[in-house]
């Protein structure tokens, strides 16, 4: 992949308001608030990676502690963990998700231009699925809501409709719109749209709504097929990903992993198709992990793209859990253990990094801000997308 990082002109304080003709203090206070607000609205959709990871972890812990999970190896470990720990994690995930949603809502209000730019950017547009995926994962991992209740159903609809809408928009663009050719716009983050469909399918299957589940599953898989081939072909001249975004390559094995989970929920058992998808996911994971040089450049400085490592690992661990349930054997249990521990460690490490290096994580500028000199179509996000 060619890495090209382009620095965007930093548009600082583009939303500085007119000075009110009041006292100096008022002016200062107002401008401070507004400056703070402006900083706040720089959080672009890429930050939802954090909530995605945390909600995924919550789901993993919940699945591991379910009594149906025949986790011989993990049983002692899981039982030593107090359920309070799980509740804490769940609350953290909820809090992060709510906070990010609020921030994004504020951004919608104040920087609508940026939102529009984000929607048309080949990387940014895929992260608009991320909040809905996070909500769905959180819903599935809720300790107090059973899938067969009405509120679960309502919430599922609330979170899936936006996914449908985004699907229609983005997939429709792939094969109809002139300039946004898939061959040029396809990049590993496009798999997030596929994952969105698959998460919706899984949640629906748990509710018992098999037809909706199957519908979303087939939507996701059809487009996944196209995307998989396109991404593997790596057309010369396609929009390449900046080196900072290399962690999103992990999405390559998140998609088949999620597909395996979704099919497992739909068909009831972890049958051959699910196994095949799980193995594909495992192979791609091995393939990426054996190429550390690919990620070297992105690991120099902490940035929000690092959070892209956690969610795919969590999905893989979840799939391994389901697999171990089906194929009760030493190797499958070991695999489940290793992957779960790995995903937990990675998430923990990222949390620690976030708390220690919060400054690095905060957005320094709005990469999607339309500047006067550049057209929005040309905007390429830099480090922090």
């Amino acid at each position: 992949m060619e890495e090209r990082e382009q620095q965007l002109p930093i548009t600082t304080n583009s939303s500085t308001p007119r000075q009110t003709p009041t006292t100096g203090l008022n002016i200062v206070a107002t401008s401070k608030v507004l400056a703070w607000l402006s900083n706040l609205t720089r959080f672009h959709a890429g930050y939802f990676r954090i909530s995605l990871s945390l909600c995924g972890q919550a789901l993993l812990w919940k699945t591991l502690s379910e009594p149906t999970t025949d986790a011989h190896a993990l049983r002692p470990v899981i039982h030593t963990l107090p359920s309070a720990a799980f509740f804490f994690l769940w609350s953290l995930a909820l809090f992060s998700l709510v906070a990010l949603c609020l921030l994004y809502a504020v951004r919608c209000l104040f920087r609508f231009e940026s939102i529009k730019a984000e929607l048309s950017h080949h990387v940014g547009m895929n992260y608009l699925f991320a909040p809905w995926i996070s909500w769905l994962l959180l819903l599935e991992s809720t300790p107090f809501l059973h899938p067969k209740t009405a509120s679960y159903l309502v919430l599922w609809w609330v979170f899936s409709v936006p996914i449908f809408v985004l699907d229609v928009k983005i997939y429709g663009q792939w094969f109809t719109k002139g300039r946004k050719l898939l061959s040029m716009a396809a990049n590993p983050t496009s798999q997030i749209s596929v994952i969105g469909n698959l998460v919706g399918a899984r949640a629906a299957a748990r509710m018992g709504w098999r037809e909706s589940a199957l519908c979303m599953f087939s939507l996701g898989m059809a487009h996944y097929l196209v995307l998989f081939v396109t991404l593997y072909q790596r057309f010369v001249g396609s929009n390449s990903l900046p080196a900072m975004l290399r962690p999103v390559f992990f999405l390559f094995f998140a998609a088949p992993g999620m597909a395996s989970l979704a099919w497992d929920s739909i068909s009831g058992t972890f049958d051959n198709a699910s196994k095949m998808l799980f193995f594909l996911s495992l192979f791609l994971f091995a393939s990426l992990v054996s190429r550390p040089a690919l990620f070297r450049r992105s690991m120099r400085r902490f940035n929000v793209a690092w959070w892209a490592y956690s969610f795919p690992l969590t999905v893989l661990a979840l799939a391994a859990t389901e697999y171990a349930q089906e194929v009760k054997g030493f190797i499958s249990d070991a695999l489940m253990l290793v992957l779960s521990v790995l995903s937990a460690l990675v998430t923990l490490a990222l949390l620690v990094f976030t708390f220690l290096k919060t400054r690095d994580l905060l957005p320094h500028d709005d990469p999607f801000a339309p500047s006067s000199s550049m057209s929005t179509a040309f905007v390429m996000p830099t480090l922090q997308t």
């Binding site: 790596r234 594909l280 192979f283 091995a286 393939s287 190429r291």
Partner: protein, 626 residues
Amino acid sequence: MENKDLQVQLSTKQGFPEELPSLLKCITSQTIAGFDSVECGGMNYQTQLVTIPNPQEDATAGKGLEAAELHGQVNVIFGPPPSSPVEATDCHEPHAISVSMPASPSGLHIVQAKKVLFIDKAGPTAIDGQPNQPSDSDSINSRQPQQGKFHSQPISAGNSCGKPTEGKVSDPFESQLRIPRNDSQRDKRFDPFKTWSGKLERQLSNLRGKPQEPDLEAANDCHSAENETVPAVDRYFDALEGPELDTLRATEVSVLPEDKKWPFLLRFPISSFGMCLGVSSQAILWKTLAISPSMSFLHVSLTVNLVLWCISLALMATIFLIYFLKIIFFFEAVRREYHHPIRVNFFFAPWIACLFLVLGLPPSVTVNVHAAIWYVLMAPIFCLELKIYGQWMSGGQRRLSKVANPSNHLSIVGNFVGALLGASMGLKEGPIFFFAVGLAHYTVLFVTLYQRLPTNATLPKELHPVFFLFVAAPSVACMAWAKIHGDFDYGSRIAYFIAMFLYASLAVRINFFRGFRFSLAWWAYTFPMTGAAVATIKYSMEVTNVLTQSLSVGLSAISTFTVTALLVSTIIHAFILHDLFPNDISIAITQKRPKFSKKLAHLRSASSDMKDIEASLPKNNPELEL
């Protein structure tokens, strides 16, 4: 004097400028206006020898225009101390350095001279099959026409270690400048392709008690150190052409002498394993014919399978051994083969052939095979896959849209064959794993090949037997799925019908499969036909009627006939035409495009008559870029 090639011979052993070896004197006396192919003492190039400082030189220097130019530069040549040899070949040979002198006195210092150009202006003089034969100028006639050569060499004795030469692989040319030497001496031209650049071989000869060659060969190693990088994938596309990327373009040169027969190991390509694939798949076919209930009307005995299996086992062992020797002695060549966009797929062939051997195991030998064998055979396939598919996904220039070619099917089929074998042995999860991986990547490859993207540099423009590899994957996949699933259900049938369609689609175009040069890789293209035949037999076990049975018989007959025809061709090429293993040009491409590639192409297409060229030489303007 248009010929600007100079050959400077420094006599280091005999000291400098003392008495010149007889060769030099001989040469001097022959260098009259011109170039000449100096056949004296085995120098076959029409290079003008300038012998340095000796009184005779003035005589030569006085001749011709360039001599004057040279004169000034000649002195420069003598910069390096005479005792610093460049390459030593024999103790009694003077060390030769070749420098190229620019036509214009642009000041080429010997220490900076990087290239020596020996182009046959005359087109062809010179290169004789055995450069070490002492011959006289008449041997000029014996060289091959239209062989331009671009040799680049490091210059200066002793300094070359520090100087990266541009054209890399400089060493081979050293020996061409040689003066008479015995045939028993090692040909150093192939050193860069040897393991550790010939050090291993020297060690082995030491161990065997052969006379130690002078230590100046250490300089050799320095040069070889420059050859560590393999040409980038783009170079392979630029320099080679043909459906198997094995023909050198007219604008390119090979770093190894094209006229001489290279050492056997160097000529032994990885695609020879295709023979194992072909023969072992035949063993499987005859086994299936013998044990299938729907084919029992043929009354085929299992002996055929046993015989074929033993033959393929022996063949496999032989080829494995030879290639193993090649890895030991010519590791560089193996590396270059690994980086070749088509040959890399053949690295799967040994393991697939081993899998075939286990699949075709005659029941009389053994019935139960230990599961460990499967893991052992699949491990190399797994590692190779991780590397190759990972490259498709994220590996720089080797993007699939560029390198996809039908030979890539070899990297996919391994998965399905492994799944088939594993399922036959009773394993459960492993076969599904490989089936899944193979299926996913097969989809990608299939779409890409069907697209025939314009950016794809490797697709053969015309039909070539390599296209039969298309049939391999679906037919083996169908059998594997049937074994995994337990019966020949819809999934297998879908795959089977796809395979049949592709087969039919190629078979009706049989007329287009003409006019290709036979190569050992063709053996690899027979196993898909055999695979299709076996799949048809399995299908006929499921759906038994006259149509399927006759189809089985027909396809088996076609496959057996093709293999027999290939066998006959191979024998003819091996024993009658003696060109079964031609020089493997595709691994000997230069790192960089030769500078005067256009002129080279022009030269190569020039008249092959040496005399004409010789006659026309004085009129040519030397345009050699140095």
